[in-house]
Symmetry: D2
Subunit: 474 residues, 4 copies
Amino acid sequence: MWIKTLREDDKLKEACGIFGIYSNQEIEDIGHIIYHGLYALQHRGQESAGIAVSDGNRVNSYKGMGLVPEVFAPEVIELFIGRIGLGHVRYSTTGSSLLANAQPLVVKTAAGTVAIAHNGNLVNADLLRAELEEQGSIFQTSIDSEVIANLIARSGEKDFVQAVAKSVARLRGSFALGIMTENKLIGIRDPHGFRPLCLGKLDGAYVLASESCALDTVDAEFIRDIEPGEMVIIDENGVRSYFYTEPQPKALCIFEFIYFARPDSVIDGMSVQLVRNAYGKRLALEHPVEADLVIPVPDSGTSAAIGYAEQSKIPFGEGLVKNRYVGRTFIQPTQKKRETSVKIKLNPIRKTLAGKRVVLVDDSIVRGTTSKRIIQMIRDAGAKEVHLRISSPIVNNPCYFGIDISSPEELIGATHSVEEIRREIGCDSLGYLSMEGMGLCMGVPPEQFCKGCFDGCYPLDVSHLDHKKKSIFE
Amino acid sequence: MWIKTLREDDKLKEACGIFGIYSNQEIEDIGHIIYHGLYALQHRGQESAGIAVSDGNRVNSYKGMGLVPEVFAPEVIELFIGRIGLGHVRYSTTGSSLLANAQPLVVKTAAGTVAIAHNGNLVNADLLRAELEEQGSIFQTSIDSEVIANLIARSGEKDFVQAVAKSVARLRGSFALGIMTENKLIGIRDPHGFRPLCLGKLDGAYVLASESCALDTVDAEFIRDIEPGEMVIIDENGVRSYFYTEPQPKALCIFEFIYFARPDSVIDGMSVQLVRNAYGKRLALEHPVEADLVIPVPDSGTSAAIGYAEQSKIPFGEGLVKNRYVGRTFIQPTQKKRETSVKIKLNPIRKTLAGKRVVLVDDSIVRGTTSKRIIQMIRDAGAKEVHLRISSPIVNNPCYFGIDISSPEELIGATHSVEEIRREIGCDSLGYLSMEGMGLCMGVPPEQFCKGCFDGCYPLDVSHLDHKKKSIFE
Amino acid sequence: MWIKTLREDDKLKEACGIFGIYSNQEIEDIGHIIYHGLYALQHRGQESAGIAVSDGNRVNSYKGMGLVPEVFAPEVIELFIGRIGLGHVRYSTTGSSLLANAQPLVVKTAAGTVAIAHNGNLVNADLLRAELEEQGSIFQTSIDSEVIANLIARSGEKDFVQAVAKSVARLRGSFALGIMTENKLIGIRDPHGFRPLCLGKLDGAYVLASESCALDTVDAEFIRDIEPGEMVIIDENGVRSYFYTEPQPKALCIFEFIYFARPDSVIDGMSVQLVRNAYGKRLALEHPVEADLVIPVPDSGTSAAIGYAEQSKIPFGEGLVKNRYVGRTFIQPTQKKRETSVKIKLNPIRKTLAGKRVVLVDDSIVRGTTSKRIIQMIRDAGAKEVHLRISSPIVNNPCYFGIDISSPEELIGATHSVEEIRREIGCDSLGYLSMEGMGLCMGVPPEQFCKGCFDGCYPLDVSHLDHKKKSIFE
Amino acid sequence: MWIKTLREDDKLKEACGIFGIYSNQEIEDIGHIIYHGLYALQHRGQESAGIAVSDGNRVNSYKGMGLVPEVFAPEVIELFIGRIGLGHVRYSTTGSSLLANAQPLVVKTAAGTVAIAHNGNLVNADLLRAELEEQGSIFQTSIDSEVIANLIARSGEKDFVQAVAKSVARLRGSFALGIMTENKLIGIRDPHGFRPLCLGKLDGAYVLASESCALDTVDAEFIRDIEPGEMVIIDENGVRSYFYTEPQPKALCIFEFIYFARPDSVIDGMSVQLVRNAYGKRLALEHPVEADLVIPVPDSGTSAAIGYAEQSKIPFGEGLVKNRYVGRTFIQPTQKKRETSVKIKLNPIRKTLAGKRVVLVDDSIVRGTTSKRIIQMIRDAGAKEVHLRISSPIVNNPCYFGIDISSPEELIGATHSVEEIRREIGCDSLGYLSMEGMGLCMGVPPEQFCKGCFDGCYPLDVSHLDHKKKSIFE
């Protein structure tokens, strides 16, 4: 009758975050550096976390279910001693029995110990898995990393780097990969560059991270983004770059900018926050309205709301206060009280809203249920009008590349017109950012992004895939 | 070498939050209602939480160390059955051995079972305790509630309400109290009204809460604030009001508005957020500066920063991103890296700050160490100038009424001039809100507030008190 | 449907164990010594454990629910530094909410800090508690120790030792007490000596323990038993003895010898094991039978079974094997399979029992359900005959002095004749040790024991007590 | 300085226990049955436990570190629904990072899901592992089961049973295996029959167990032992038997009778208890002595001590009492007090031992340190003479087949003569059971046992093995 957790459950979910580090000398505090790097990437995965560290000869690893500080007690962090490390945070379906699925996956092969951390989703994992099973491979988990590990082990290549290159060339789908051996760290981005991955430097060490905010957090200097189709090999010879495949059209996931990435990250040269701010400004041009106050749905709507306020000259304000303590283990009210449950997280400020015409800015609408409750709440607090502005186009297609859209049928944008949505969620007007508008804000040609969740055009053939089983393997 | 927690440790600390409920009929979900009420008050105390519930005949209680959702598993919450309840969240020095100090304190007396929850600090607790011990009382905890319980038990009054009235009349200091028996709920505010307490209604039940945001969260309707020196008795006869003492000058703690209370609360008729917004506007008038961007230290500086931006016409923006996952169990970097530890919580957005003249708005300065690091971080991100604006006067005196200022010597405002502080923390200009300015923002005569931490004028004689031992009893 | 624990639930339960230590110098490893002392007394209480230690000025304490090694992590044990200590293990009704009832109770009084550990049951606790409440005392727990602490605090005596003496003189019932202040350790036995308490020496320190086996475990030398009505005060002046009351008839609980105490303990000069061995020999004289094998119900029937075998010249053997891992958290089979659940703990050895006429020796019969299942199991293993011999008389009366006999109606001995019991539990013959026989084995006059559970004759007036509420206060 | 656990650390360690069940219909309480089966086998492995259950289509599994009741909460046990199950308890080097090594190992292969549980030690695991790695296999654990799973997956056989047969034919060493697929249960014993495995029946279901005591516990009927080199396949067609190799000399581990197995088990037709009793009788013939009392070192010496007493006509008694609560999480005293630590577990009964000439019976001597302390303790308790009798020959060789003898150098029997041992451990006389005597007690030709730890003659070539790395793979 009572559900244990209250998450951002009307939000799209990302898959993973990666953080790696390499030095020729032992790194003091290597455990702490990776810990803090993963902490900065926590928004990319809250279900499990893992760290593997090599001292050049031997790999030690530790994984667990939960947030980074729940998994890693200080005494565990201090046990890591070495000069190369790889960490991972993961979003997944819940369940302690899935500890086996936590990453990095650490395996012993003829070439030594290999640790693999993956962010993304392979669209040919089932086929590769079946092929490998036919050849006698056994699988202990349901993660893509195990497929990749088996491909590498069976590549037939003597040289480890060649084995990896040959293996990743067989992968289809989205993948940002960190691969560690006893004496190497390799970073790989898929040919389309769906998921971000960047390179930094911290004193004498090189750092790999899913987002630049993780570099900032550990005081590393940003060097550059890994390019689509690129593989960087970091070892005693420094950093080498290798392109394992023919160039492919770039298709960076646009949702990284809309919602997933932290606003302080810079991805492929674009500041996430500035892009969001631009979305808000553009939204004000596309969907102007006479109003007294612009307020965000905190925290994901804030950057766009500030942009909307700047462009429209309507004052920006806080109309909703978020309970900063709402976390993973929150108890949700009974079903019958579900409508008011949003109040546990968000509370409207009556004195600020009463009698006002309010522009409410949010990043996206998934099922629409939360939007409906928030709008009602703002009305109950005395607002005269509520105009909802969404800083992205209508989400109405499944994702095959790592976003957990459980089913397109659940997407209100897939089944309702804008006017129907407006009526359903109860706002006075509703405006989505246009595809064109979104494109104009990016500063680079819009063709360089995957926008499949908006327009159903995917950079890879997905016709053989069951959309019911698209992003999580099991 | 590594410290386990990273808190808002350069912030002043509050003592407690109270939530009570009374109905003549059994309240379905009584445990959940109190749980959510306490959750909304979590910012007032993160060290322990407790709930006591009466079914009219028998009181059951459960307490534990930690945040509300850490203490109360769903299965525990569902065990509470009854029609009267009292909950408490507490800030205190840490340590599981202090579970005994968690509240509500539940005791058996000749008059039946009594549960007591206290927010505040008694300045005559030592004297009363010694007197009670002389009379043969024994003490199992170091909390003020136990002193109050003993006073009530020894009052000599037959009538319980008279016993309470007589007892609280002997207390000196700050106290908002919730007292529950098998069949009554009593709410009391000290004669000066240091700490807030308000009354609400939820269906047929009455609700008491430290802040109105807790009423909102459980969907209760706000009725009124309890008045200084007032005692409201809620029982089968409804709500009775009783003034247990002669009227005293009102002295509501001004820091509730500056930092402690949630912005969505309304205290004694004043919206916390609107007051903070007014502080920001006033600050812009008192300390104007030419600049390109106004940014808050999130989250406590946000409301004032918006006010400053509105008044100054300088654009408001986000320049610092807070890691939303930083919580209680975070591992802090080693001492030598302490300077950069603030980055784990806050990350500057380079592309937003570079080349800008920035107005940074925060609510107060305690030791100044965090301000210094944030300013440096903003400069490192490329800001040309950093002008710090503080939406409160200089904190330079101890508090004897519930705020944990460990020692005035640690207050940079007590030992440095404004110019010295500016140099020490490294900003281009520094402006504090003036006492007069603060007063003008309140909408009621400034004499109605305790501003002792700013001016050293306390509404009660504190000359006998050791300031080293001022707010926490043990 | 499934019950969480499988205890010795067809056995009578004891209340508590006490262990104290005093030295004029700091005792290295004081935490470990008390820990091991309590470990040796674990059989006397498995529900909670606590330790309080004084360094001469200040008392630190730690308590928790569970077995000694569950409550005390090594890091906690090492925190104890001091020269005086008091520990306690407790049997009670379960529930983490009863942590407040764990002992020692540590309170602050006008005379300083006092820690109290109690083994036994006061028959006038209700009266004393009501009287104290009338005088204004408040109660936070439901344990007798809190009554005693209040009596001491209110005694009106200036001298602490006199205050204790005056207070314990008012107690009726069974009590072995350990009382510690910042600089003293006091051991007290009730005027009838219901519960054991002895004194030992360990290097320069004095030790108090419920049973001598705890002295052995910490390598302390046994000095003597505390006498009924005696109070020993251990402080910087050494050990003083004081009799706080007129001599009363001695009434040591005979069940300590039958079942409670560890066989390696010596109580009031009598070896528990030798007494049990004598019971077995006497039983063989009183209830001889022609048989092939004497087997015990392990472990409580072993000593008597060896005695029976010696006397009868029938070979002793093991016919039942006990699973040594059965502990507190065992899952019990469903109700319908309850009959076979005894097999989880005990397994008959077919090859040893098949075709044999077996004498089965157990210490007592409570409800008879376990006996019935064991007998059936032995028959199923092929035994031709099963003759049950019980090394104590028939238990058919409640206990008011610390044994948890939930209700006399549940005692098969109170409602059935011996022949009826034999038929009910299904053995070929059944023999109980006679009262006279039991007396003959003790080596001292049988009048010196409380045998109320056998004959209903109690050394104190219990006519005002509700037998439904006899041993546990709440 | 303080070590966390006090185990039977001067005892040889076994590796594992297996329990499987198969039915054509869903088995009510399948989780509970396996749980209780594993509980009965807990003595064979205390480090981790795991259960896998199939409903005919899908396999669910759960594993954890610790004792069976620690790993399996009631709510977990009730989640298992199905008709086929396989459970395992494991002894191993400690460490939560080794959860990955818990069994059963559950893998997905081209042939479906396979679960494997192994008791024993392969002497060619390293070779097979290297060979498999060369072929592209990856290894995630360090257990033999993963080698076996890879062999099966790569066998090239279409038929699963043939694949298993072909794979196990390549294994050298000791192995009792349980293998489960979605619809089959297979039990296998190595060609020499080092480790026991038996078959039983429970209502309509078949049961496999390492020892018959597990059959008894779940009320299953014993059918027969699996034979060396035999593979039994249990599926919808009933039970089929298949011999996958040429007959080899039988080599059942004699230590199962001496110490490992529970006394209530019957292995290959021999009652463990009767064998131990016979050892004791034989020992009395080989090493008679004039004495007053025969006492065992509880619990492992009990059966032999009873035998010695019967044969010698010297009375059997209890001279040492074992603390029944000593378990896994016990804190050991500091190194300097190590000599007395044995008292925490065992306490001598002074009144029973004083002035006596004592025969002390134990099952074996490993390092001799515990024996020395026990003998000293018995002397300190007043015994006039202590004659130690060991119910097995001298252990002086490593084991390659599953017993954890960390190093032969640590075996006192490998480096000292009997007289030297006697002097070292301080007894008046010392007698070991002779190899011939041990053989005479077995009832079957002594050649049918592996007695390598006594005579260094192993049934398999072990010359290539490093004795430092003999029983545990990692």
